[in-house]
């Protein structure tokens, strides 16, 4: 109980109530995240309905193999985060540190793949906004509204990528706390909430992958 009493705020009746309140607060935050991304998904849907041929042609320039690889990497990281919650609930603290480090590694792999995708596009003159000027093999893809497709691609994957970077920062922070022994089966709220955030980032990508790379 000593551990619990150091983390229980005086305005909560019990650590269970505190945990539930924190978790519901996290879910409310995740709703705002869903709504943030929904604006971009709506922009995608509107332009896709208007110019379906342009979207199908333009998406040929995105490499579905890299997109699929990143999907698997993020799914694996979601799995390791879910396992880390499982093991902290069973008080197996060393495994939690290893699993969180694996998650961090997956996130890093995701960003490395994204780096090669972005620089590959830039080297062919595919930029968001007014800088859009594909050349070489890509010149044939300069159709009207292709710039809109790639602006939507860069903004959606860019804001998603920022979420991955933020997630990496938060995970790195809870790894250091886990190493210092801050968490146990009695108190693991930060791991639980970080896990929820990370799963949402995964879910967003689950939709981005088929919409941008496949169809």
């Amino acid at each position: 109980m000593a551990e619990t009493s150091t983390t229980l705020k005086h305005y909560f009746v019990s650590s269970a109530q505190q945990f539930d309140a924190a978790k519901m607060g996290m879910w409310l935050f995740l709703v705002t995240e869903v709504l943030l991304f929904s604006g971009m998904f709506v922009a995608y849907a509107v332009y896709r309905v208007w110019y379906p041929e342009v979207f199908e042609l333009s998406s040929e320039l995105l490499d579905w193999r890299l997109g699929a690889l990143n999907t698997l990497v993020l799914l694996a990281s979601s799995f390791t985060v879910a396992l880390s919650v499982h093991f902290i609930q069973r008080n197996e603290k060393e495994k939690v540190v290893v699993l969180l480090l694996l998650t961090l590694l997956c996130a890093l792999a995701f960003m490395v793949v994204k780096y090669f995708e972005y620089t590959g596009k830039w080297s062919h003159g595919i930029f968001p906004g007014a800088g859009f000027a594909p050349h070489g093999d890509y010149a044939a893809y300069y159709t009207p509204y292709a710039p809109q497709f790639f602006s939507i691609y860069f903004v959606m994957t860019g804001i998603h990528g920022i979420h991955v970077l933020v997630g990496m920062g938060v995970i790195a922070w809870i790894v250091t706390r886990a190493i210092r022994g801050h968490f146990s089966a009695a108190y693991y709220t930060p791991i639980e909430l970080t896990g929820l955030y990370w799963h949402l980032v995964d879910i967003i990508w689950i939709f981005l992958f088929p919409l941008l790379y496949l169809i």
Partner: protein, 228 residues
């Protein structure tokens, strides 16, 4: 002990969900290689939706959690659905307003006003209509050069420089009037070597070229091209 009451999702369940997620990823990649026509998009979205539900229910433990979190999640999704469906119900059904030439707004007087002005039995209604309604005008025909600037310039240069399409420099000497007309109306009938098929038709359709251009305007565009 409060935390002791929390449901611990078994490793076996988590591993099964992960395997299902990987399998669904492989399935969506494979089905995307096949052309299922109108089913392409709904199928990909259905698979993505299934994956999202699996992550939310098991990895995020909504299935075992305090139901209030499920309510919060559903509210968020419901708002996103309202946002998406109301926006699409506007943009998908409003027609191609965005491509009208500047200064021209197609407007039909209501039939009742036409009848009133024909019979002239209700002068007040006519006076009101003249006051409030803009006059119906035919769109002024655009010149060949204006059409070139609007639809052709991005891909076809006049000075021989290389753009996504062949240059128009000297095209008046190398092509007959009939060949030029055919190349506009049916771009894929003859393809200049080294340039991609379909691109021009796709582009002109996206710009609503064929639906907004009159025969007379296409004539003047051909005349403009003949002079190059």
């Amino acid at each position: 002990m409060a935390h002791g009451s929390h449901h611990i999702v078994p490793i076996r369940t988590l591993a099964t969900v992960f395997a299902v997620l990987v399998a669904l990823t492989i399935i969506t990649v494979i089905t995307a290689q096949l052309d299922l026509g109108p089913l392409n998009v709904p199928l990909a979205l259905a698979i993505a939706g299934t994956k999202a539900v699996a992550v939310a229910a098991i990895f995020m433990a909504l299935k075992y959690d305090n139901p209030v979190n499920m309510v919060v999640a559903f509210l968020g999704i419901a708002f996103a659905v309202v946002f998406l469906s109301l926006t699409l119900s506007d943009t998908a059904l409003r027609g191609a307003l965005g491509i009208q030439p500047a200064g021209h707004i197609p407007y039909e007087l209501p039939a009742a006003v036409h009848e009133a002005s024909a019979s002239a039995e209700e002068p007040d209604a006519v006076a009101l209509a003249e006051q409030e309604m803009p006059e119906v005008q035919e769109a002024p025909a655009r010149s060949g050069e204006a059409l070139y600037d609007q639809f052709c310039k991005t891909c076809h240069s006049l000075d021989g420089s290389v753009l996504p399409g062949p240059t128009f420099q000297g095209i008046g000497q190398s092509r007959t009037r009939e060949a030029l007309t055919e190349s506009i109306l049916d771009p894929d009938a003859t393809i200049t070597e080294g340039f991609p098929p379909q691109l021009m038709l796709l582009t002109l359709n996206a710009l609503n070229f064929y639906s907004t251009t009159s025969d007379a305007e296409i004539e003047s565009l051909v005349t403009f091209l003949e002079a190059q």
